[in-house]
């Protein structure tokens, strides 16, 4: 656990980078510090491994003031990942990863063996072990940076805009990789980003900074989206926070209607007889949705034609009932030409549809529950 107790960082020229910051980072959680540039988020991060020392206040690591420990020893127990990767250009990938274990006195052979394990664990090919950093892509280098930070198995990981310098596709895959690593390793992670989307995706808790080193709100992401503390937070979170919040709401409570699903090997005559205004055409073998067809349009098609040949409109997307979020379901409804979201089960078979009315009911039920929870939080303020 990392605890900031009334920490202030003031520079000799009078600039206050961090102003009276108190914050708790619980064990095994990802806390994301987010805010505009110059808000003190990076300064706060670097005070944890003493790259910067606070002017006032103190920082505790598992209850011990970090100033009581020699900096080098403290740092070897804290993994550090930065945007520019900071990989050593003159060392191979495996030796980069082995850095901290070797500093700690682990034999080079053993440290390299561990490095190779980590190379696969972060999703890289072991053949890269003997390459040099400049021979890797930006995304690969960043994975090596994460592996290096994990090499000595430190309980704490500090990440300073780790995924900001890579393209969006690579960034998303690095973020997913981090979440899956974290599910396994349960590190205490403090991450800095200026990207609120990233904060919301990765954070168990998001600490949003004002421009001048004070905290605007510290909350789990869904709460930040549902109940921003003030206009600044609401503005920073973005205009579509109402919809984004739905990412955190499961579809378990969503009422589904029986789907007007008809297999592709049905004849048009039979399909018309079913009497639905829109039909979801499904794959005859797998039951997976293939597209929508409007029954009215079938009038112009010969009755003997199979539905699969009748020309469907694209499905847009479907959502996995119970697993995907309400946001995915809403997206599916918006994209659907019939205005209905197609729900599938884990195997991809159509299980039902959800109309906008049904989605609205689910959203309203969730909002009511969230409001009740918020009132509960206000009634008994957290310590």
């Amino acid at each position: 656990m990392i605890t900031f107790e009334a920490v202030t960082k003031r520079y000799p020229d009078g600039t206050v980078a961090v102003d009276d910051l108190s914050l708790v980072v619980p064990d095994g959680q990802i806390v994301v510090l987010v805010g505009p540039s110059g808000c003190g988020k990076t300064t706060s991060l670097r005070m944890i491994n003493r790259l910067i020392d606070p002017s006032e206040g103190k920082i505790l690591l598992d209850g011990t003031d970090i100033r009581t420990r020699p900096p080098a020893q403290l740092r070897r127990g804290i993994g550090y990942v930065i945007q520019q990767t900071g990989l050593f250009p003159h060392r191979t990938i495996e030796d980069n990863i082995a850095t901290v274990p070797v500093l700690n006195g682990v034999g080079r052979g053993q440290a390299r063996a561990r490095a190779r394990e980590l190379i696969s664990q972060v999703g890289l090919d072991e053949n890269l072990a003997r390459r040099y950093p400049h021979q890797l892509s930006g995304g690969q280098q960043q994975r090596v940076g994460v592996a290096r930070a994990l090499a000595a198995d430190p309980p704490v990981l500090l990440m300073d805009e780790p995924f900001s310098a890579v393209d969006p596709v690579v960034r998303a895959s690095l973020q997913d990789q981090l979440l899956s690593l974290q599910a396994e390793l349960h590190k205490t992670i403090v991450m800095v980003t200026h990207d609120i989307e990233e904060a919301i995706k990765l954070g168990d808790t998001v600490a949003l900074f004002h421009p001048h080193g004070t905290l605007a709100q510290v909350a789990p992401p869904q709460q930040l989206l549902a109940a921003p503390a003030d206009d600044y937070v609401a503005g920073f979170v973005g205009f579509d926070r109402g919809i984004r919040r739905l990412s955190f709401v499961p579809t378990g409570g969503l009422q589904l209607s029986p789907a007007p699903a008809v297999p592709a090997d049905t004849t048009v005559t039979q399909a018309r007889a079913a009497g639905h205004p829109w039909i979801v055409v499904t794959d005859a073998a797998s039951g997976a949705p293939r597209g929508w067809i409007e029954t009215a349009r079938l009038e112009a098609v010969s009755g003997e034609t199979l539905l699969g040949q009748a020309g469907t409109e694209p499905l847009g997307r479907s959502f996995v009932a119970g697993t995907d979020s309400l946001r995915a379901a809403l997206d599916a409804a918006v994209l659907s030409p019939a205005g209905q979201a197609v729900a599938v089960d884990e195997a991809g078979r159509v299980v039902g549809t959800a109309s906008f009315d049904q989605l609205r009911a689910a959203i309203q039920a969730e909002t009511a529950a969230e409001q009740a929870a918020a009132e509960l939080r206000q009634a008994e303020p957290s310590p």
């Binding site: 900096p71 740092r75 930065i82 945007q83 900071g86 901290v100």
Partner: protein, 211 residues
């Protein structure tokens, strides 16, 4: 060209070549040994570098022959005079490269090293200096090549080198001797340069690796 002159004077040519090599290479090596600590301090304390560089630039501007003559009262007509003068010249090219080499180590790399628990000395020895090697070697190569060529001027104050062949050849109006001297100096300089490039390749395997 009188080709037969060359084998007849083989022993002399070989001796002059060795002397020229010694006078050219030793000052560069001494320059490197001095430049490393001074350069490390200069890279660390920014105020220290401009006056240092100004001093060496002024020394560099002094004609080498004048510098030899200035040193004669103290060290006489000896190897030492030539070596000291050429060491000063070598400092002028090696020191800026040591400083530049250390300064071009990316800040992110230094910060990452510190954050991983390197102390300042260990970081310098195992991260910063290795990464500065290519730039330092660029300076060392210039110093060695220039040193081998400048060493011949030592002949003017009587310190033996391939410069002897120029002066003797001129006095005797014997071009063969002058040509042999010129070619040997160029060959010597090129050979030393190639050796330095080879050493640098061994020291910096990462620069050879292709993507």
């Amino acid at each position: 060209m009188t080709w037969s002159w060359i084998p007849q004077n083989g022993a002399l040519i070989w001796q002059l070549t060795r002397e020229n090599l010694y006078l050219g290479v030793v000052p560069a090596l001494i320059g490197l040994v001095i430049s490393l600590p001074v350069g490390i301090l200069a890279a660390r304390w920014r105020w220290f570098y401009p006056p240092m560089l100004a001093l060496f630039n002024i020394l560099y501007a002094i004609p080498s022959l004048a510098l030899f003559i200035a040193l004669i009262p103290a060290f006489g007509l000896t190897d030492t005079t030539v070596i000291i003068a050429l060491t000063i010249f070598s400092l002028c090219v090696i020191l800026p490269n040591v400083v530049a080499g250390l300064r071009q180590v990316p800040a992110s790399v230094k910060q990452a090293a510190t954050a991983m628990g390197y102390g300042p000395v260990r970081r310098l020895a195992t991260v910063e200096l290795p990464l500065a090697v290519p730039v330092i070697f660029a300076g060392l190569r210039i110093a060695v090549v220039a040193g081998i060529s400048l060493a011949s001027i030592g002949q003017l104050i009587g310190v033996s080198s391939l410069g002897y062949l120029f002066i003797d050849g001129l006095q005797r109006s014997f071009p063969t001797e002058i040509w042999v001297g010129v070619v040997l100096i160029v060959v010597l300089a090129l050979a030393c340069d190639l050796i330095l490039v080879a050493i640098r390749r061994v020291l910096t395997p990462w620069t050879a690796a292709r993507s």
